[in-house]
């Protein structure tokens, strides 16, 4: 039976009628018309549909609506828009970190979750955080450089001085 499920979506209180077993990805791309989370495999193996739920990166193709009541969900649309890009999006543009771009929504979301918990990640930490995300065009190095660039700028803005030596 469909039920009313209330959750926070990109900071906005949202209410949808959904079957508890319905998948978040279908709801986002269906009646919510948010297309940033992309269908890649339907099995949680590629990261193209990554979203942040309560600070954790999850595959929207595996997340059931019934488990989201009262929770906070962030999609790539919640990061920034063309007029007001998130530092990650600005850095990806500046370094042209993309080719076909199909993986980028999920990678941006994964990178945001990383920087939220670790504002000064090493290259190895960036790689480890993004390892679940597949990229077929081979822009991995540009992506890692862009994440590091965004992190540097965000630290400069917030006055974060890095971990004590």
């Amino acid at each position: 039976m469909p039920q009313a499920i209330e959750f926070s979506l990109n900071g906005t209180a949202t209410r949808v009628e959904a079957e508890p077993g319905e998948l978040l990805l279908d709801v986002l791309r269906g009646r919510l018309a948010l297309y940033g989370a992309r269908f890649g495999c339907g099995a949680g193996q590629c990261g193209a549909c990554a979203v942040i739920v309560e600070g954790e990166v999850v595959a929207a193709c595996q997340a059931e609506m019934g488990g989201l009541a009262g929770k906070s969900v962030t999609t790539v649309e919640g990061l920034g828009a063309a007029q007001d890009p998130h530092p990650l999006q600005a850095a990806f543009l500046e370094l042209q970190a993309g080719q076909c771009g199909y993986c980028l929504s999920g990678i941006l979301v994964g990178a945001k979750a990383l920087l939220d918990r670790n504002p000064d990640p090493s290259r190895a930490e960036i790689a480890a955080a993004l390892d679940w995300h597949l990229c077929r065009c081979g822009v991995h190095n540009r992506v890692m450089d862009a994440v590091a660039l965004a992190a540097r700028r965000m630290r400069a803005k917030t006055g974060f001085a890095g971990a004590a030596a």
Binding site: D26, C41, A43, T75, L93, Q96, Q99, G101, Y102, L104
Partner: protein, 699 residues
């Protein structure tokens, strides 16, 4: 000479015109799929027109709106399409200068164009492209007579230009997959278990229990499930897989996954090159290399939309060209091409002929039988892996003769593969649908010199001065599974084999691999690439073999006529190969967008490193058995090493495609570095744990 693409679409306003809104309308038949083609072509147009980039309106590809340039393939866009747009734009500029001169009563030579306005002795004349537009009829055929700008006058070409298509992709937009049309229905097609399988029964009640609103279309062995939502279509499809009974389902032997299996299959043989010299007493060395079937592995499964109003069929596709899609849809639906309109939208990277043609054709077949609503077909991951064409496996048996000094003087490449190109069929098998005529094999293609073109022969011969060379190609027909073009066709596998073999020849001759190559390479541009590569990678400090750390190099001239490319790999091997660093030095002729060029070269290196170390399509059952990312691993973030790329500029006027030139050299460099690390050679891809162990045991 008028460029072939301009000769095929001669009317100037097909390429360039001036809109009332103060922008120039620019159209190309080549499509963007993330490789940066459209941005680089726009740079070329802007430069020849002397227009700011911001004043271009590059129109999306759609039949009727853009010139017909066929398929976007072979890394030929900048060379062929670029030549056409530059020629057309230069002629438009010349016509407008003549019109301005007429108005001003001066000679055209007294005028110049800057940012779209006409200047006389550097001073404004009050005229620009838009104020003169009424004076110049661009609905005229190009003559091809206007000279192109020389390099010293470029203002846009050679500058790094951010990609036009990238911003939307960073803000959650851009793709065909995101198009939601009013009243759109979602359909899935039940795929036959093998090309010869026929539907023997379908329990429709079972499907309706899972998806009560489903519209089931059955015609011959073609079964489509049409629903109001994607989720319901998924339920209907899953039920239909249980509800269908098939006759003649395929059951492929998994051993057919290996290229060595080709020798027992029906094939045609083509020989070319120098006559064989029997009875030579020179030293002869042979080695056999293998490359498995490789999936395009597009990150997004393909999608397509079709809508038929009873007279006109409209198709939305992310395939490689709108006109070929129209021809394919006309053949399959029986509609006249004029009754079909094809619109291109962005899709996931395809790297060749992946599944992109298929869902729009599925949708078109359904739409003409269910007029009215738009029909959207979204392939599943399993469909993209299991039913899209894959790149063919290849077996490469190489034979060389060395003179007493160790120099390579006679070379034979004997190749076994299925066709790399020409199979523009779809996932709907011939005979599946009554009256359905699958496209036949494309006619034999010829090279400019009249010889037979085969994707399997690209870079079959190493790019050195060798006195006698020959090729023997065995083409398997029919292939055991659907094969079609994959980035570089046979070029990268052939360079992997040939440049691995050259290292083996150097070892047999007791010579350093770099010195051995330079001794048989007279082309100064190739020598410059190899020499610079050796400096960058620290070749002079290369250590002994067999330590577990390896440094390898490789070189080729793409297709023996394009870019000069050298790659080096530094890596370690214990039970697996771990890449430490990769380098690429490339002389790609005229570089239009340096950042875009580097992005393409690096992307090609990462993809080919993944091919070399990880990838192998497994056959079995109805066809392809590796249908998830767990079955088909690719290189991940933690496995991608730092990569250094350097472009060399030999002041060439001609651009060379760079989308598929780095793969072969990087695969061979990795192979040579693995051999250096192990003191033993792995000749069959991918270089996995088991193959490394086998190579060590063999030594």
């Amino acid at each position: 000479m008028i460029p072939p693409m301009l000769a095929a679409n001669p009317q100037l306003d097909r390429w360039v015109s001036f809109q009332p809104d103060g922008r120039a309308r620019i159209a190309f038949g080549r499509v963007e799929y993330g490789q940066g083609t459209v941005t680089a072509l726009a740079q070329m147009a802007a430069d020849e027109l002397d227009l700011p980039f911001e004043r271009l309106n590059v129109v999306p590809a759609a039949t009727g709106d853009v010139p017909d340039e066929g398929l976007t393939v072979g890394s030929m866009s900048l060379e062929m399409s670029g030549w056409a747009i530059r020629t057309a734009a230069a002629e438009v500029r010349q016509l407008f200068l003549a019109a301005a001169a007429g108005r001003l009563g001066c000679a055209p030579g007294e005028l110049e164009v800057r940012d779209g306005t006409m200047l006389r002795d550097g001073a404004p004349t009050g005229l620009d492209y838009w104020s003169l537009a009424a004076d110049v009829d661009l609905a005229r055929p190009a003559t091809g007579a206007a000279p192109l700008k020389s390099r010293d006058r470029f203002t846009r070409m050679g500058e790094s230009q951010p990609r036009l298509d990238l911003p939307a992709k960073l803000f959650g937009q851009a793709f065909l997959h995101d198009i939601a049309l009013p009243g759109m229905r979602h359909a899935r097609v039940l795929r036959q278990p093998g090309r010869n399988a026929r539907l023997a029964g379908l329990d429709e009640a079972l499907i309706r229990r899972a998806a009560p609103g489903v519209d089931i279309l059955v015609e011959g062995s073609f079964v489509a499930l049409i629903c109001a939502s994607e989720a319901e279509a998924a339920r209907a499809h899953a039920a239909a897989e249980r509800a269908a009974r098939w006759q003649g389902a395929a059951d492929l032997d998994p051993a057919l996954s290996e290229p060595q299996a080709f020798k027992a299959m029906p094939h045609q043989t083509f020989e070319a090159g120098a006559p064989r010299q029997e009875g030579s007493n020179r030293r002869r060395i042979t080695a056999s290399y293998g490359k498995p079937y490789i999936s395009h592995g597009s990150l997004g499964p393909s999608a397509g939309i079709a809508q038929y109003d009873g007279a006109k069929l409209t198709i939305w596709t992310h395939n490689q060209g709108v006109y070929p899609m129209r021809a394919l849809a006309a053949r399959i639906t029986g509609l006249a091409p004029d009754a079909i309109h094809v619109i291109h939208a962005q899709g996931p990277g395809c790297y060749g002929h992946n599944g992109a043609d298929d869902p729009p054709i599925d949708a078109a077949i359904i739409a003409v039988r269910r007029p009215g609503a738009p029909i959207r077909v979204q392939w599943r991951r399993e469909d993209e892996f299991g039913h899209a064409p894959v790149g063919t496996a290849m077996l490469m048996e190489l034979s060389a003769e060395l003179d007493p000094s160790g120099r390579l003087v006679d070379y034979t490449a004997e190749i076994w593969n299925t066709p790399h190109t020409g199979a523009r069929g779809t996932a709907v098998a011939e005979g599946a649908l009554p009256g359905y005529r699958a496209p036949g094999q494309a006619p034999q293609r010829l090279m400019p010199d009249g010889t037979r073109f085969s994707g399997g022969l690209l870079n079959a011969l190493p790019s050195y001065d060798i006195a006698a060379t020959r090729t023997v190609e065995h083409v398997i027909e029919p292939p055991p599974i659907r094969t079609s073009s994959l980035r570089s066709l046979g070029g990268a596998p052939n360079t992997f084999a040939g440049e691995s073999f050259v290292d083996e020849l150097a070892e047999a001759a007791g010579q350093d691999p770099l010195a051995y190559r330079l001794a048989m390479l007279s082309d100064p541009r190739g020598r410059a690439v190899l020499t610079r590569l050796a400096e960058l990678c620290g070749w002079a400090g290369r250590g002994a073999a067999g330590t577990g750390q390896g440094l390898g190099i490789a070189y080729d001239r793409h297709r023996n006529r394009g870019a000069y490319v050298g790659c080096a790999a530094l890596l370690t091997v214990d039970t697996e190969v771990r890449l430490t660093r990769l380098w690429c030095v490339c002389d790609g002729g005229l570089i239009v967008n340096p950042d875009g060029a580097k992005n393409q070269l690096e992307g090609g290196m990462v993809m080919a490193a993944s091919w070399a170390l990880k990838e192998r399509v497994q056959l079995g059952g109805a066809g392809v058995a590796s249908i998830t990312w767990d079955d088909y691993p690719i290189l991940r973030f933690s496995e991608v090493p730092p990569i250094e790329i350097e472009l060399l500029d030999a002041k060439d006027a001609r651009p060379m495609g760079l989308g598929e030139v780095s793969q072969g050299p990087v695969m061979a460099a990795i192979g040579n570095a693995v051999a250096h690390a192990l003191g033993a050679r792995v000749r069959d891809l991918p270089m996995t744990h088991d193959r490394i162990a086998a190579a060590l045991l063999r030594e």
